[in-house]
């Protein structure tokens, strides 16, 4: 069973959301999934994730919040 770590960065002033997620990523282990909740699409994050071998799936929820699932690439 995949372990899930939740991080809610809604309502934080930039660049705190990005700082917090980078912090969380530095301790993310293979087999874990980081579930991030944010109030806008964090496009700046995507380039960093791609360059650092993370896979991500963004979903726009009905309440206009974005939920991003991030894992290490296999």
């Amino acid at each position: 069973m995949e372990e899930q770590i939740d991080i809610d960065v809604c309502g934080l002033e930039p660049p705190e959301p990005l700082e917090r997620v980078l912090e969380a990523l530095s301790t993310l282990k293979p087999g874990q999934c980081l579930r991030m909740l944010i109030d806008r699409e964090p496009r700046p994050l995507y380039g960093i994730l791609e360059r650092n071998h993370f896979a991500y799936e963004p979903h726009l929820r009905d309440d206009y919040l974005y939920e991003i699932h991030i894992r290490h690439k296999p």
């Binding site: 309502g11 002033e13 660049p15 699409e41 496009r43």
Partner: protein
């Protein structure tokens, strides 16, 4: 309304930064003009020193910051790539800066050749800038309210430039044009069009994002910019058609002022009512800017009701100081303190994360103390400038000195941010 800001397509840092770093020099030049001429510079809106200061502030300070901001936000909010961003930025920056210097010198020295040179340089600057935006925006759907308002602001800029070139050509050559009407329209499109609409457009994004407020009411985000633009169109047509439609032009102008008052009050309310109020210098700049905007709008509406007020030579100067410095300068100054550290941080963290290093916190790029003290200097300069319109003999030079100090301080704070960027980049071993 959904929040949409992506930094994936951020242009190189030096594209917006060159505009932001050189803009305060024009505010310094404007304050030196006032320092030199003193109270004799504040007699009427037609005084050459007033015209020189106005254009140093609107073309130089505000124009440079706003164009730098547009080049930054088009890729970020709409994925719009302006063709050759570095080359476009270099040309627009060079031509606009030089053009603003020539135009201000033209007013001060009253030399035709200076106006002619200014017209060529400024015409070319805006042709390149608006042409690049046109190419970038071609075929792009305006799906968000910011992009729609930016398009309207750019159209208003085009109108301002055409009217300005027509006016400039009356100074440069023997062309006979209805100067009074063209000047009013030029000022209306430049201030209530280009400056006002771009602030509205950017506020839809940056107020909820950096002040952590609720988003703007849907109706405001969707209709406000368009309503202002249409009203300005009605004002222009009514003014140009015949003296009989003058009443319509005046009523429509008052309506535009009220629409800006609505924007000012709603934005104030959003910031005031936010869940986690944490006032920092940018918040104070917003409050100052919004209070000035509402004051300018009410003054304008009041003059509509009491024509005697309009006859006073101090009235247009009050309106100008409130709108250009109180509103425009304050909100741009405040936003620079969010946007410059954010861009520096973003470009650094991207490179430093890859190099296994931690980028400095945004508050280390420009400290809150530094921006707070500069805010106090700015607020004092604004108060003195307004007071100098009532007591010019006593206060004109003091106001100029205070405005010089505030603008110089802003410049030093922004240069400090650029220095942090270079130092950290050197640490990460990356080429700048």
């Amino acid at each position: 309304m959904q929040r949409v800001l992506s930094f994936e397509q951020t242009p190189p840092l030096n594209v917006p930064l060159r505009f932001f770093l050189s803009a305060p020099l024009f505010a310094l030049a404007a304050s030196l003009v006032l320092l030199w001429h003193g109270d004799s510079a504040l007699t009427s809106r037609w005084n050459p020193s007033v015209l020189a200061m106005t254009h140093l502030l609107t073309l130089g300070f505000l124009g440079l910051c706003m164009i730098g901001a547009v080049l930054q936000i088009l890729p970020v909010i709409a994925g719009v790539e302006v063709p050759k961003p570095r080359t476009t930025a270099s040309w627009v920056h060079g031509l606009l800066s030089l053009g603003a210097v020539f135009l201000a010198s033209g007013f001060l020295a009253e030399q035709r050749w200076l106006f002619a040179a200014a017209l060529l340089l400024l015409g070319a600057a805006f042709l390149v800038f608006l042409g690049a935006c046109r190419v970038g925006l071609k075929g792009v759907e305006s799906e968000n309210s910011t992009l729609k308002a930016v398009r309207l602001a750019l159209l208003a800029l085009a109108a301002t430039v055409v009217l300005g070139l027509a006016l400039g050509s009356t100074f440069a050559g023997p062309l006979a044009l209805p100067v009074l009407m063209l000047t009013d329209l030029h000022a209306a499109w430049g201030l209530a069009g280009w400056l006002g609409l771009l602030v509205v457009a950017v506020a839809f994004q940056v107020v909820p994002m950096f002040q952590v407020t609720e988003i703007y009411p849907r109706a405001i985000a969707r209709w406000l910019a368009l309503a202002i633009f249409v009203v300005l169109g009605i004002v222009s047509i009514a003014m140009a058609v015949s003296p009989q439609t003058r009443q319509l032009a005046e009523s429509a102008s008052a309506l535009a002022a009220l629409l800006y008052a609505v924007f000012g009050i709603i934005t104030w309310r959003l910031i005031w009512k936010r869940k986690r109020p944490k006032s920092e210098p940018t918040t104070f700049f917003w409050y100052t800017g919004l209070a000035s905007l509402v004051a300018a709008s009410l003054l304008f509406a009041l003059a509509y009701a009491y024509p005697a007020l309009r006859a006073s030579p101090a009235y247009p100067l009050f309106l100008g100081v409130l709108f250009v410095i109180g509103f425009g300068y304050s909100v741009v100054n405040g936003m620079l303190y969010k946007i410059v550290p954010f861009l520096v941080w973003y470009h650094l963290q991207d490179r430093m994360f890859d190099a296994g290093l931690k980028a400095p916190n945004v508050r280390q790029v420009i400290s809150e103390d530094a921006s707070r003290w500069q805010f106090i200097a700015h607020a004092l300069a604004l108060a003195l400038l307004l007071a100098a319109l009532i007591w010019p003999q006593h206060l004109a030079r003091a106001a100029a000195l205070c405005f010089f100090i505030s603008s110089f301080w802003l410049w030093i704070n922004l240069l400090g941010a650029a220095k942090v960027y270079r130092t950290c980049l050197a640490k990460a071993g990356a080429p700048s």
